[in-house]
């Protein structure tokens, strides 16, 4: 099921990536190439096989519930474009 340009535009929008018409066509072709590979995989009969959630056959290690981090705000904010009153400032977002 190859992707069309409308779907490319939607994916770009969801990913917040700005692409030109030429890039959209190129991206469509590249993604369709990836999809062709996926189609080959999907041709394999996987009935009765549990979906794999992770490539490694291990289980999650757990942390004890202890506070181990200290305040390093000054260091983190030193590289932020704009801060005020301890807050990171970003272009206004209101829904």
């Amino acid at each position: 099921m190859p992707l069309n340009l409308d779907q490319i535009a939607r994916i770009a929008r969801l990913s917040r990536i700005e692409i030109s018409a030429a890039e959209a066509a190129q991206t469509r072709d590249q993604l369709n190439g990836v999809f062709a590979l996926i189609e080959q995989l999907q041709a394999v009969d996987t009935r009765g096989i549990a979906p794999m959630a992770h490539a490694m056959d291990l289980t999650q290690r757990l942390r004890e519930d202890v506070v181990t981090e200290e305040d390093r705000r000054a260091a983190y904010q030193a590289v932020a474009p704009e801060v005020e009153a301890g807050l990171y400032l970003v272009p206004r977002v209101v829904e």
Partner: protein
């Protein structure tokens, strides 16, 4: 046309852990902005999440409390969306295999004769991380981002579309709110955002078994707003359909000032979260031994305790329900009943009445939690013992209660002695007082003998006044009647 309302609720309960779900940063509320946001929380490159054992234990606890199935193996997934208070560009959540599936919660709706019970089925409960906070106040036209909350552990609890009115939704939310606090997994503080509800609301013609298109009301952080928002939304949907319009699936916000709901995201922006398993996290395994360990540490649950109160203390379903509304109330009542001698069901009922009545009214007026009550369960029990053994009447007990509340004395006996409140039950003493009162009120005596029943009450009133309320009311009635009728 008759409409049926269909409501499902999604609740985010902040879990009571010291540290975040995937990092060792503190979750304490009220810190200065961004001082509790570590490298993992602000998504610096190269960091990896490590799951907090206590957050998982909270989820197991909840699963056991609602009778849900706890997944022996569950998966964390990335929910992708862009918002500045979500620095990774995705929220770590659970999608295909949540930690808890199914379960149910019993609720009681309405009051008095209109009261009924109902069971709400749960779909699932899953672990996820909270996002940060965006502040839209004036920062020169920009938004300020505080990431202290980012990574705080949440349990998202999702119901089936089982509720049929705003009242049922509120009853469910209250029952859930009480339960998560009861089992100690959430502090329930709604002002601080520890317990937030989203309501999925739709309407359909009565008798239809097809669901209507739903709109989701986001972030209801008080029970009152939930009631108002759902009522408004239902009215809006019915009117719109009545006008020939259709409901479009949407996310709406409730504005408490106007009392209205309004759409937040347009259909064009309908969310597509592109969930996929998070490669940074391995599957979470929960062993039967772990579940057994959590189970052994669980307190008696409210529903079981309510049944026991009805059985052991012979309380009504209403009383037992009110006394098990919170764990602190239930503990207070049980301590009080045990100290007062609850083997006698009358004493148990007295304890129930005082806890639900005077004590609860005083706590409400003073805006105090029962755990902070100025008089302990043992002191209240001491007073109730004196009502039960006839030392004081229920009326006089109010005065004793006031003194104990004000901390005037260590126990009820001291108040009774200091103020001379002991009830007069000695027949000889009462007869002497009756004689005095009859002598002083010949008119009332005459009226009574002429057949005026009211005169009798006037005489009782005089007697009570003469004894400052201390006369045993039952004895007074009997003795006075004997004296007047000469029996």
């Amino acid at each position: 046309m008759q409409w049926e309302v269909v409501i499902g609720l999604e609740t985010h309960a902040q879990l009571r852990t010291n540290s975040k779900i995937f990092s060792g940063a503190s979750t304490a509320f009220g810190a200065a902005p961004n001082v509790q946001a570590c490298a993992v929380d602000i998504a610096l490159p190269g960091v990896l999440p490590v799951l907090n054992r206590a957050a998982v234990a909270c989820a197991i606890r909840f699963g056991l409390a609602v009778g849900g199935a706890i997944a022996p193996r569950s998966i964390f997934a990335r929910k992708n969306y862009f918002y500045p208070d979500l620095p990774k560009g995705y929220q770590i959540s659970q999608y295909e295999i949540p930690v808890v599936s199914g379960g149910s919660l019993a609720i009681a709706v309405g009051q008095n004769d209109g009261r009924y019970e109902k069971t709400v089925q749960l779909t699932r409960a899953h672990l996820e991380e909270d996002a940060g906070k965006s502040l839209h106040e004036d920062f020169h036209g920009k938004s300020g981002i505080d990431l202290n909350r980012a990574g705080t552990p949440l349990l998202e609890i999702v119901t089936e579309p089982d509720m049929r009115s705003a009242a049922e939704a509120v009853a469910y939310a209250k029952a859930l709110h009480a339960l998560v606090q009861w089992i100690g997994i959430c502090d329930g503080n709604m002002q601080e955002g520890s317990f937030r509800c989203d309501a999925n609301v739709s309407v359909r013609p009565k008798g239809s078994d097809k669901l209507g298109t739903r709109r989701e009301i986001k972030n209801l952080n008080s029970f009152r707003f939930m009631q108002q928002a759902i009522d408004y939304e239902v009215k809006w949907q019915i009117e719109r359909i009545g006008d020939g319009g259709a409901i479009e699936q949407a996310t709406v916000l409730f504005d408490p000032d106007s009392g209205e709901t309004r759409a937040m995201r347009s259909k064009e922006d309908a969310q597509d979260y592109r969930y996929f398993p998070d490669p940074d996290l391995l599957p979470l395994e929960i062993s039967p031994a772990w579940i057994a360990e959590v189970k052994s540490a669980m307190p008696e649950l409210p529903a079981a305790m309510k049944d026991r109160f009805e059985r052991d203390y012979q309380l009504s379903a209403y009383d037992a329900g009110a006394l098990t509304a919170t764990l602190a109330t239930a503990r207070y009542f049980e301590d009080c009943a045990a100290a007062a001698g609850a083997a006698d069901v009358k004493t148990a009922k007295l304890c129930a009445n005082w806890v639900m009545g005077e004590l609860s009214a005083r706590l409400n007026a003073a805006e105090l939690d029962i755990a902070a009550a100025p008089l302990s369960a043992a002191r209240l029990a001491g007073m109730i013992r004196r009502i039960a053994d006839g030392t004081i009447s229920g009326k006089i007990a109010k005065e004793v209660f006031d003194a104990l509340w004000a901390g005037e004395a260590q126990d009820a006996d001291a108040v009774i002695e200091a103020r001379g409140l002991r009830q007069i039950s000695d027949t000889g003493a009462l007869e002497a007082i009756i004689d005095e009162v009859l002598a002083a009120n010949p008119k009332s005596v005459e009226e009574f003998r002429a057949g005026k029943e009211k005169a009798f009450n006037a005489l009782v009133g005089q007697l009570m006044k003469a004894t400052r309320g201390r006369a045993n009311p039952q004895q007074v009635n009997e003795l006075l009647k004997q004296r007047l009728t000469g029996e």
